[in-house]
């Protein structure tokens, strides 16, 4: 347990600078986008006011300013997409960086007097914590940015939204921040499962190299089929036999089977097949 925690902390440390940079980029870009969008809007309003329009006419023309104006902009979404892309790449890089280049850190990791599975679990946990961390920090940023927007745009021209309304106004934010905790658990559980399956695929490649890529893809395919098996059966030969709750429980079980199977397979590969 202690080794697992130490390794997790270590894996976090290895990406931490990059992680802080990602957070920094997000904060800077989103803050600038708040300032820029709000000022743009006020500029248009002022122009109209100075050309003799009343406040009502200006509002009718440009609409009330709300945070949706900001979330719809490129500079708001870009850092989110950048963070997602970085973490997706890092899912692979977290393993390959131990093999590639001059350093042979994989030697060290696999010669540690602890179960090699801990290395696997620590890497998975690190990815997971970093994902949840970004999600949480983005929520904090949203709150701050919302307040900042209120400071820039005067009351008259503003329609205030709560964090939930901001999230509602944007489809992909709803996927990241579901309303119900169970839905949150499902979304991120599936994400976690996918990370574990990809890790297993990587270990296949690291164990058997070229042949391993095929095995890894095959394994991921089987994992996908196993996970969706209840739905596949339900839609085909079982002719909609299950009730939604039953299907949910079966999917939960199939998901757990995929996670357990992947971890078991990874443990096997790490102990019996891995090559440094």
């Amino acid at each position: 347990m202690m080794s697992y925690l130490k390794l997790t902390n270590f894996e976090l440390s290895r990406f931490f600078k990059m992680y802080l940079v990602l957070i920094g980029i997000t904060l800077v870009m989103q803050t600038l986008s708040v300032v820029w969008t709000a000022n743009n809007y006020l500029g248009e309003i002022n122009e109209q006011l100075s050309s003799g329009s009343t406040v009502e006419e200006a509002i009718n023309g440009w609409g009330l300013f709300s945070f949706d104006f900001i979330t719809r902009g490129f500079w708001f979404s870009a850092p989110i997409l950048l963070c997602i892309a970085s973490l997706l790449i890092y899912v692979f890089f977290i393993w390959y960086r131990d093999w590639l280049g001059k350093n042979t850190f994989a030697y060290r990791l696999f010669m540690l007097p602890t179960a090699r599975l801990n290395v696997f679990l620590a890497k998975a946990t690190a990815i997971f914590l970093m994902v949840l961390g970004l999600i949480s920090i983005q929520l904090v940023f949203l709150t701050i940015e919302n307040e900042l927007m209120k400071m820039i745009v005067p009351n008259t021209f503003r329609e205030d939204l709560t964090i939930n309304e901001i999230i509602n106004g944007f489809d992909y934010l709803r996927v990241l921040y579901p309303v119900s905790f169970i839905q949150f658990f499902i979304n991120y559980g599936i994400g976690f499962m996918a990370v574990i399956v990809v890790f297993t695929g990587i270990l296949f490649e690291r164990s058997f190299r070229w042949k391993g890529i095929i095995l890894g893809v095959l394994f991921s395919g089987i994992a996908l089929i196993v996970f969706f098996l209840p739905i596949l059966l339900h839609e085909t030969i079982l002719n909609h036999f299950f009730y939604p709750t039953e299907l949910f429980i079966l999917m939960l079980i199939s998901g757990l089977i995929v996670i357990a199977g992947s971890i078991w397979m990874s443990n096997y590969l790490l102990n019996k097949k891995i090559r440094v």
Binding site: K6, K102, N103, F105, P113, I274
Partner: protein, 229 residues
């Protein structure tokens, strides 16, 4: 005792090891000698369970390797096993963090013996100093067995002398050591046992002193005989 029993290893269709057997005792320096091929490193990797073998068995003090074995046996590969971004002190902290066998006093001793600065980053070290750090990280563990892969290759003459000195010191003492090399000039006098490998098979395994006494031959003499035959 490390027992390597009839191990076979294939890379694709190529047999790199084809029924290799030998033993290495505690308190002795066993040298895996091969003039070409990758078999030597593969043997060490196989002992450490860093590469799977196709058949055969490896026992360490009668047991198959497991996670606890890494407190008893360690491996110093020919490249550094720490992140280049780390300072030497970070690397030592990392080792101390994970190994019960880590001996800080000995680590400090080695640090001054090798004249290394703990605040230097691994990435900024010379080849020779990198090899020394690598050596330090292995030697500072209180383990029974030490495996070293080509500890003298590609480094300058002074570093080589310094490293060779280690073998005669109390730092190695009664441990079992397996080293691989393709040129044994620097360390011939240190070797207790030689295992001559070629094309994946053991051509000869012999005790250096015995051969010297009974046949009056040095290891190099035996090598000439074996490899030129």
């Amino acid at each position: 005792m490390i027992e390597v029993k009839d191990i076979t290893k294939k890379f694709g269709r190529k047999k790199v090891l084809n029924g290799v057997s030998f033993t290495a005792n505690k308190g002795e320096i066993t040298c895996l000698i091969g003039i070409n091929g990758v078999g030597k490193t593969t043997v060490l990797n196989a002992i450490m369970n860093l590469t799977p073998i196709n058949s055969g068995e490896i026992l360490i003090d009668g047991n198959k390797i497991n996670k606890d074995s890494y407190e008893k046996i360690t491996f110093i590969p020919d490249a550094i096993t720490m992140l280049p971004s780390m300072k030497i002190s970070d690397a030592m902290t990392f080792m101390a963090d994970f190994y019960n066998a880590w001996n800080q006093t000995r680590a400090d001793e080695l640090l001054s013996f090798f004249k290394l600065d703990a605040n230097e980053r691994i990435s900024s070290l010379s080849k020779g100093n990198t090899a020394k750090v690598n050596m330090l990280l292995g030697l500072a563990l209180d383990v029974d067995y030490l495996l070293m892969d080509e500890p003298f290759s590609g480094i300058d003459i002074f570093s080589r002398e310094q490293i060779a000195e280690v073998f005669t010191s109390h730092l190695v003492e009664d441990r079992g050591v397996i080293i691989t090399t393709h040129e044994i000039n620097d360390i011939e006098h240190l070797i207790d046992k030689a295992v001559l490998l070629n094309d994946g098979v053991v051509l000869r395994e012999f005790n250096a002193e015995e051969v010297r006494e009974t046949e009056g031959k040095s290891i190099i003499d035996v090598m000439r005989e074996v490899y030129h035959a």
